[in-house]
């Protein structure tokens, strides 16, 4: 997935003006030019293990953004070098990778971790090593206060704000009586807890909770647990049995289904014309960023798609059946630009300025929608180290997703649960 071209592009940019130096490996190129030494960004990427499908697109997005940053002169006049290390989607290895960034590769920062359990395994080590650690995981763990001063999530919103911001529109447009079908473990419990609370706060009612064992592959026997009075069915199943789940749901309800609302996590990187998914026509999904280019597409979204190599349907430009993880991967792009801005604001010149870098990020507040922030405008909370931004609700129309509602940033906000700025470095 790494775009060879993209990587080559990044390196060509690095070598611009260097002439023959372009043929040298990176480590050899800057041995005599201290000031031109690259900013090394340790990219903790899920190359293998259960996160590999996401890692592929996180890498592609990261390389594209790094290329652009280098083409525009790098950070503080220095080129950016992405040092990618595989963590195997493994928390213990995640901590080892963070150590390698700090101790072996002389990285300035760590960046890019997606899976929550890897973040949880790695962040304490980043804290001990005093390595600024920019995660792109959506987990609520940063804003919950579970981590540390060195861990930040400035490029992607967290699952708590995503889920709770859905409630007003769902209750106002689809129905007040909600049944939730979710996988019976932490990920599903997040949705259950955050959405249940938001439903009650907005005057709705949870009439049914249907937990499903995570490795289940046949679902028909669970569907009778869905109460008849259900007006909205909220689903968030994941894994290889999702297509079976939707197919059996369609067989169970036939044409008399309640309104259905889901999280695109279920079908991220999955084509909407996959077998069985026709039942999802006229149902609704949360999207972190709209997979399909919309009629009112911003120039920023168009620019971002072009640079990452994604077409108007969210698929790779080189293979229309290679569907991207479009709802999530923008987080890598936006995080790299936050890092760039913060390093420039802090006058970052090397590892001795790491604390200044964290403080510079903490001082940030608004990121307007732009080429650097194509998903939409954002508001950063320096106390909780978490960014907030608008969310999208899309309707499935004949195999594509059309946005029907965009939340405000205010819809996604909740009271602070931590103030990292009062904790020590």
């Amino acid at each position: 997935m790494t775009s060879n071209t993209t990587r080559r592009g990044a390196l060509k940019t690095l070598a611009a003006g260097g002439g023959a130096a372009a043929t040298l490996p990176l480590w050899a190129r800057y041995t005599h030019a201290q000031s031109a030494e690259p900013i090394r960004i340790g990219f903790q990427v899920h190359r293998t293990g259960i996160g590999a499908a996401y890692g592929r697109w996180y890498d592609r997005t990261t390389q594209a953004a790094a290329t652009l940053i280098n083409e525009a002169g790098g950070i503080n006049g220095r080129p950016v070098e992405i040092v990618a290390e595989d963590d195997g989607t493994d928390p213990r290895r995640g901590a080892e990778v963070v150590e390698k960034f700090a101790n072996q590769h002389n990285c300035d920062i760590g960046f890019g971790t997606l899976f929550s359990h890897v973040v949880m395994g790695s962040a304490p080590r980043a804290g001990e090593l005093q390595l600024p650690y920019f995660v792109v995981s959506e987990g609520h763990h940063v804003a919950s206060g579970a981590l540390n001063r060195w861990t930040l999530q400035p490029g992607i919103t967290d699952v708590k704000s995503q889920v709770m911001s859905m409630a007003p529109w769902v209750l106002g447009n689809l129905g007040k009586k909600v049944t939730m079908v979710f996988p019976d473990y932490a990920f599903g419990h997040d949705h259950r807890d955050f959405f249940s609370a938001a439903v009650e706060a907005n005057g709705g009612e949870i009439v049914g909770l249907v937990p499903i064992p995570p490795t289940e592959t046949s679902f028909t026997r669970y569907f009778p647990q869905i109460p008849r009075e259900t007006e909205v069915l909220y689903h968030v199943m994941v894994g290889p049995a999702v297509l079976t789940f939707v197919k059996e749901l369609g067989e169970f309800f036939g044409p008399s289904a309640p309104a259905i609302f889901g999280f695109i996590d279920s079908l991220e990187a999955v084509a909407l014309d996959s077998p069985g998914l026709d039942f999802l026509n006229d149902t609704y999904f949360w999207e972190g960023m709209p997979r399909y280019a919309q009629a009112d597409q911003s120039e920023y979204d168009a620019f971002y798609r072009e640079k990452v190599g994604v077409d108007d349907t969210g698929s790779s430009v080189s293979d229309p059946s290679d569907v991207s993880t479009y709802a999530h991967m923008f987080g890598c792009w936006e995080t790299l630009y936050v890092i760039k801005d913060a390093m420039e604001a802090a006058g970052y010149s090397g590892p001795q300025d790491r604390q200044l870098l964290v403080e510079a990020v903490e001082a940030m507040t608004e990121f307007p929608q732009s080429r650097e922030h194509p998903q939409g405008p954002k508001r950063f909370n320096g106390k909780t180290h978490q960014v907030f931004g608008q969310q999208y609700i899309s309707r499935v129309n004949d195999g594509r997703l059309d946005v029907v509602h965009t939340t405000s940033i205010e819809d996604t906000m909740y009271p602070d649960e931590v103030d990292y700025t009062t904790t020590s470095f």
Binding site: V45, R56, A84, G88, P124, Y185, V270
Partner: protein
């Protein structure tokens, strides 16, 4: 977190948090999701029926029929010792360059050429080519050439006898398999570079002490590859290159000592490599596949599973062979019968190898091309790929997933059919009479039918 926390306390805190803080699962639905929607029960039934039909057919056909199927014909005279030394030396130089790339090249295992060449080009591509064609490893192993050169330069030296039978080969093969299956990061470029360099040095040292015989009896990887080569269509007999139906060499040639046991171990290890990716296995370990804690958390269960799977397979196969001998009141010793019949499972192992690695090969093969085109991330494009995005789109459409699944299932079924044919032909050779041969093979044939079901179940199971 404060920097002065004790590491132990820190770990405990993380584990506690990991237990209570909600996680997220992003395991995506595509390929295996589409497989779950295919009529895999139908395919599995057809595959098992094909193997069962082969068994029935063999009982009905004349005794010499299977043996004639495995006849071979000479293609050309074949003496190429010098060329083999040169090829092996070049392979050694390539390996040395790859080790340097592993240490100094990109840290990303999908950008560094070392893990891609070792795990994709060698362990998938070369092993399959070896199994389909013949003994390419005799040319491409990185030891025999340098060893021959050194012996020529030094004028030869006395080597010690290798008295420990097949056990060094078994031990080194299981060590390799353990690294492949259980090591937390076998594709990490640094780690792999060190492992490859140390293993090369160890093997070369042992070959200096015990002579080239070490490569045939002590080096498990070469022994496994030699076992696979005997399924290949090309083989060398009496100075001639011959061609025949896959497996003919197992019937015609004589297996080196230890080959029988190695043949079973490559099947046992390959089978476990499939099992340990299933939700079923994670259920046995009490793990949720969507919160899989990573390979580092299950090193010992994986090693234990691999050993138990191999022991179980050796025991069951031995039991089947023993029962067959009893059925026809044969006086053949079990150890001799095991040495005779066990290599017939190698086509199954090859079928599993193809089925198991096909999907990763389709993706990582693309990465290998990209990495070989730009081995040190210098922006080079040695292979002229131009703009190249690695894709996994073929896992997203029913048509392509169905083709992939059927190729995998076909490899498993063809492997079993070949194994049944071979076992029967070996039995005819051993006991003479066709009916007695069929009877003696009945338990082994039942085992192979059952193993077909197992292999096809693996393909259709939910896994990650």
């Amino acid at each position: 977190m404060k920097a002065n926390l004790l590491p132990g306390a820190c770990k405990a805190f993380v584990l506690l948090l990991a237990a209570v803080v909600p996680g997220r699962a992003l395991a995506h639905a595509s390929e295996q999701g589409l497989v779950l929607l295919l009529p895999t029960d139908l395919y599995t039934g057809a595959g098992v029926a094909a193997v069962a039909a082969t068994v029935v057919l063999l009982a009905l056909l004349p005794a010499g029929w299977a043996a004639r199927l495995f006849a071979s014909v000479a293609v050309l005279r074949w003496r190429a010792e010098g060329a083999r030394v040169v090829a092996s030396c070049l392979s050694f130089l390539l390996l040395a360059a790859l080790v340097v790339a592993g240490l100094a090249g990109p840290r990303d295992p999908l950008a560094n050429p070392l893990p891609l060449v070792v795990w994709t080009v060698f362990w998938v591509g070369l092993v399959v080519a070896q199994g389909l064609l013949g003994n390419l490893w005799a040319w491409l192993n990185p030891w025999s050439g340098p060893l021959a050169v050194l012996r020529r330069l030094a004028g030869g030296w006395r080597v010690r006898r290798l008295r420990s039978g097949v056990w060094p080969g078994v031990a080194t093969f299981l060590a390799f398999a353990g690294f492949l299956l259980a090591d937390p990061a076998p594709a990490d470029p640094d780690r792999l570079a060190v492992a490859v360099a140390l293993y090369w040095l160890f093997t070369f040292g042992m070959a200096l002490v015990f002579g080239p015989r070490w490569l045939r009896r002590g080096e498990g990887l070469s022994m496994a590859l030699a076992a696979y080569a005997r399924v290949g269509v090309f083989g060398r007999r009496g100075g001639r290159l011959r061609i025949g139906v896959p497996g003919w060499q197992i019937l015609r040639g004589r297996a080196a000592p230890g080959m029988a046991l190695l043949s079973v171990l490559i099947l046992g290890t390959g089978s476990f490599d499939g099992v340990n990716e299933t939700f079923w296995w994670l259920g046995v370990l009490g793990l949720n596949p969507f919160e899989f804690p990573g390979r580092s958390a299950i090193v010992w269960p994986t090693l234990a599973g691999m050993v138990v799977a191999n022991l179980a397979l050796v025991a069951v196969l031995s039991g089947c062979i023993w029962a067959g001998l009893r059925l026809v009141r044969s006086g053949m010793r079990l150890s001799r019968a095991f040495a005779l019949f066990a290599p017939s499972v190698v086509p199954i192992a090859l079928g599993y190898h193809v089925a198991h690695y096909l999907t990763s090969f389709m993706v990582d093969g693309q990465y290998a091309l990209v990495a070989l085109s730009d081995p040190f991330l210098t922006g080079a494009d040695l292979l002229g790929l131009g703009e190249f995005y690695v894709t996994t789109g073929f896992f997203n459409t029913t048509g392509t997933v169905q083709v992939i699944y059927l190729v995998q299932a076909g490899a498993v079924v063809v492997g079993h059919v070949l194994a049944v044919l071979l076992a029967h032909a070996l039995a005819v050779k051993a006991v003479g009479d066709g009916r007695r041969a069929a009877l003696s093979q009945a338990p082994l044939a039942l085992f192979m039918i059952g193993y077909t079901l197992f292999g096809l179940w693996l393909l259709a199971s939910p896994r990650f």
